[in-house]
């Protein structure tokens, strides 16, 4: 191959797959098979906000809004919206001519019912977001006016709606216990796909909704989710062509790297930018040594994060800079925030200064580390912490528990010294980020400040930012928040990751918005 050919090939490889896909005419038909790694108790995204629900329920039920390719809010069941300057009322003008899968019309009554009875009462993160929602007025069948008792920033509401704004049919849910409704596992929605069958432990099937409001869509005949709990087996099913898409980093890191070299697959973070997470290092302030800021900083300086990422996580992770990940276009703070680069000598000096001299065997003191059981990266990271800290004289005992045991021990019993897991960033810091830092969270609430750490100044910034309606001032408040928590270091978030998707290359229009795996797949199609 001569130099010119190499250059041409390079240029072709750089063309985004999207541009290539758009040159083709979409093909109707085909069955999209999806790897479904963890079965959920329910499939209704109006009641449970989690990727495991969106990946299925998000094709059958729709939200008021979704995100477009650039990550901006775009109307789905709402056509347009406006907000009062004081942030107390937000009006959504709903799409007309939309039908539920059972043929009944979609109206503002459905929005009102879902918001008041589901989002405000049951939906995780929805209950916090809609805490000050007083009522939803329905002046007509296609207008829903959300009234709040405290200002709700429009940016926060619009950013949160794609995940926390799924609508359920009032006529199905208004009688009986909402949690026990059979439609929770056999969804009835307005989405491009209609529920067909759910065999627990095996598969879920949905088919094309012939009355979908977007004309001539969706392209796919069916979507089939296959329950595969074994990660190696799932990778084999991708290779055998029995599964065409594996979402949310569900395969082993080694398999992701292997499939990435195979021309039949695309291994990418594209389409998951809205689902960023950071790896945490959580300090229990009830442990005397950890209440000392010098010890927390020493621990951070003792960990060589770039080395860990390069050798264990590969290209799907990068060093984190704080609780707000860099993919957050609205709120990622500009300017230099305090960071903790690897410096073992400094770590040793800080520990000496804090009065923890090395004792027998060079050990200063011992700590228990509880790693969360989800994710291979967490297991690797916890072992790396153990080995790195032993270099600076801190002996770490790793305590491995399963999901229920981890949550109970760390967030309810507080029986840990260090804990590590994921912080999920959900489009806006007020949704699921600041709760990690705000004091006063009731005991037992997972992924909140259960660390025995209180800072009234930071609590104040968090509260002000949650009700600040001016976007620029809000952004400044979050920058102040990041600076403060990076200085105090109650929790350290040193690694930033985006979920990895594995696509069979037959898939088209895949990953074309920042929350694609959760979105409705109305324009997805399969090349023959």
């Amino acid at each position: 191959m001569n130099r010119r050919e190499t250059l041409l090939l390079g240029a072709a490889a750089m063309l985004p797959a999207q541009a290539l896909a758009q040159a083709e005419t979409p093909r109707r038909g085909g069955v999209l098979t999806v790897h479904f790694a963890t079965e959920q108790r329910i499939l209704n995204p109006s009641l449970q906000a989690s990727t495991g629900v969106y990946i299925v329920g998000g094709k059958m039920q729709e939200a008021l809004l979704d995100l477009d390719a650039q990550g901006n809010p775009v109307g789905v069941l709402a056509e347009r919206w406006e907000s009062a300057p004081d942030g107390l009322t937000h009006t959504f003008h709903l799409r007309r001519g939309v039908q539920w899968h059972d043929g009944r019309p979609f109206t503002s009554a459905d929005v009102q019912f879902t918001a008041m009875a589901m989002w405000k009462q049951i939906l995780n993160y929805g209950t916090t977001l809609q805490q000050f929602l007083e009522a939803v007025d329905t002046p007509d069948a296609h207008t829903a006016v959300f009234r709040y008792s405290r200002p709700m920033p429009q940016g926060l509401l619009l950013r949160a709606m794609p995940d926390l704004g799924y609508i359920s049919p009032k006529h199905i849910f208004e009688t009986g216990d909402i949690r026990q409704n059979p439609a929770n596992t056999a969804p009835i929605g307005t989405g491009p796909f209609r529920f067909v069958q759910y065999e627990r432990g095996q598969f879920i099937i949905a088919e094309r909704n012939p009355n979908y409001w977007r004309p001539n869509l969706p392209y796919l005949d069916r979507v089939v989710w296959r329950v595969i709990t074994d990660r190696a087996a799932a990778a084999a099913q991708m290779e055998a062509g029995q599964v065409l898409f594996s979402p949310y980093s569900s395969l082993a890191i080694a398999d992701l790297q292997r499939l990435g070299r195979d021309p039949r697959f695309e291994v990418t973070t594209r389409g998951n930018e809205g689902n960023a997470r950071t790896n945490t290092l959580e300090f229990n302030f009830r442990t005397a040594q950890l209440a000392d800021i010098r010890v927390r900083r020493a621990i951070a300086h003792a960990l060589n994060v770039p080395f860990f990422i390069e050798n264990f996580l590969g290209p799907f992770a990068r060093p984190g800079t704080g609780p707000i990940p860099s993919v957050s276009t609205d709120h990622y703070p500009t300017g230099d925030m305090p960071q903790y680069r690897f410096d073992a000598a400094l770590a040793n000096r800080l520990l000496d200064e804090a009065g923890h001299r090395r004792g027998a065997g060079g050990v200063r003191f011992s700590l228990r580390l509880h790693p969360a059981p989800w994710g291979e990266d967490i297991a690797l990271w916890s072992t790396f912490i153990q080995q790195s800290l032993s270099q600076v004289g801190i002996r770490v005992e790793i305590v491995r528990l399963d999901a229920a045991g981890f949550l109970r021990t760390v967030y309810n019993d507080h029986a840990f010294d260090l804990a590590t897991g994921w912080h999920q960033y959900r489009s806006d810091p007020a949704v699921s980020t600041t709760v990690w830092y705000r004091s006063g969270s009731p005991r037992g609430a997972p992924w909140t400040n259960q660390f025995g750490w209180v800072d009234p100044r930071i609590d104040g910034i968090i509260d002000n930012a949650a009700t600040e309606v001016d976007p620029a001032r809000r952004r400044a408040l979050y920058a102040e928040f990041v600076r403060a928590v990076q200085t105090e270091l109650p929790i350290w978030m040193p690694i930033e990751q985006i979920f990895v998707s594995v696509f069979n290359r037959r898939l088209r229009n895949a990953g074309n918005n920042p929350r694609w795996a959760s979105s409705s797949w109305h324009d997805t199609w399969l090349a023959s």
């Binding site: 627990r200 432990g201 095996q202 087996a233 229920a404 949550l407 009731p442």
Partner: protein, 325 residues
């Protein structure tokens, strides 16, 4: 009639054991930190504490351990297995849905292991210390020493990914609507690899036992008598030796029926089959006590039933056993 009475007697005799197992299981799971609401929170990725409290009341977790255990046992007397927290359905329904796949896999793997183990064991015993014996014994050792998940994955890589002969997982082809014979064949195709994977380890055990047992019986006096009568070697083996050599094999089936139910967690996960093993694993992870106890109960019943059948077979094979009874 006699068989029925015997069956009832057996069941009654196993009742105390059954109750002990259930109570032990219940208490053991209390030792694990966290409950089903914690597991649900982990699945949801968060939720507020008030909702958690409400859910605990909903699942009846606000009562004491003794009260809950008492309630469970009382319900069990009426054969009510309770309500599954994960599935939102009665436990009996959940288990019934999973039972066919488990039993199908267990029966096919056991019959595969038993029949091939027997044939290979007989072959090895008849050519003892010659090359067929060495070959068979070595193969048996390899099967026995290899972890089944690895076997399963390698089988998938070879037969599904490279050769594309067999499906990589699942119970049936859900992208096509099949009925009748075609559907049965489809299920059979899906079961080939899991059956081999689960069966190979047991095959190794059966062939070792069969070989040893054959060798032992072959050295007994009545075999010499049979040969002295002038019977052909095949007739000696088939009519006299085999029947006596089968007894340890039958014992083994009874013992291993239980192991197969538990041992299939790995195979079910690797091949994405909807069986009881995976259900039990999930119930532990999700702290779904009712489902777990229900599975223990049903598995125990299955094991009791199989052992009962084994005893009847015993009497058939060796009339002395029932005569002494």
């Amino acid at each position: 009639m006699r068989v029925l009475r015997l069956a009832l007697w057996r069941l009654a005799a196993s009742l105390p054991t059954l109750v002990l197992i259930l109570v032990g299981m219940f208490l053991l799971l209390q030792l694990a930190p966290g409950d089903t609401v914690d597991a649900l929170m982990a699945q949801m990725g968060g939720g507020d504490a008030a909702i958690a409290e409400e859910l605990r009341r909903f699942y009846g977790l606000d009562l004491g351990i003794a009260a809950r255990l008492g309630q469970y046992l009382l319900r069990l007397v009426t054969l009510d297995l309770g309500f599954s927290a994960i599935y939102g359905k009665p436990v009996a329904t959940v288990i019934l849905e999973r039972l066919p796949a488990t039993i199908l896999l267990m029966v096919s793997a056991l019959s595969f292991a038993f029949s091939f183990g027997m044939v290979l064991g007989v072959l090895a015993a008849r050519r003892v210390n010659r090359w067929p014996d060495t070959l068979i014994s070595t193969l048996g050792l390899i099967f026995y020493a290899t972890p089944s998940f690895w076997f399963g994955l390698m089988a998938i890589v070879l037969f599904s990914v490279h050769l594309q002969w067999l499906p990589a997982g699942g119970f049936s082809d859900i992208t096509r609507d099949l009925t009748g014979i075609a559907a049965m064949l489809d299920i059979a195709r899906h079961l080939v690899l899991p059956t081999l994977t689960l069966g190979l380890i047991f095959l190794a055990i059966y062939l070792r036992i069969m070989r040893a047992s054959m060798l032992e019986v072959l050295s007994l006096d009545f075999v010499r008598t049979a040969r002295a009568k002038g019977l052909t070697e095949t007739r000696v083996v088939a009519r006299h030796v085999l029947r006596n050599a089968m007894l340890p094999m039958i014992t083994l089936i009874g013992l291993q029926a239980g192991t197969m139910l538990g041992g299939s967690v790995v195979v079910e996960s690797v091949f994405a089959l909807p069986g009881l093993g995976r259900l039990a694993y999930e119930s532990v992870v999700q702290r779904d006590l009712n489902t777990l106890l229900g599975i223990v109960f049903v598995s125990a019943l299955l094991v009791i039933a199989i052992n009962f059948l084994v005893d009847i077979l015993y009497a058939r094979l060796d009339p002395r056993i029932s005569a002494e009874n």
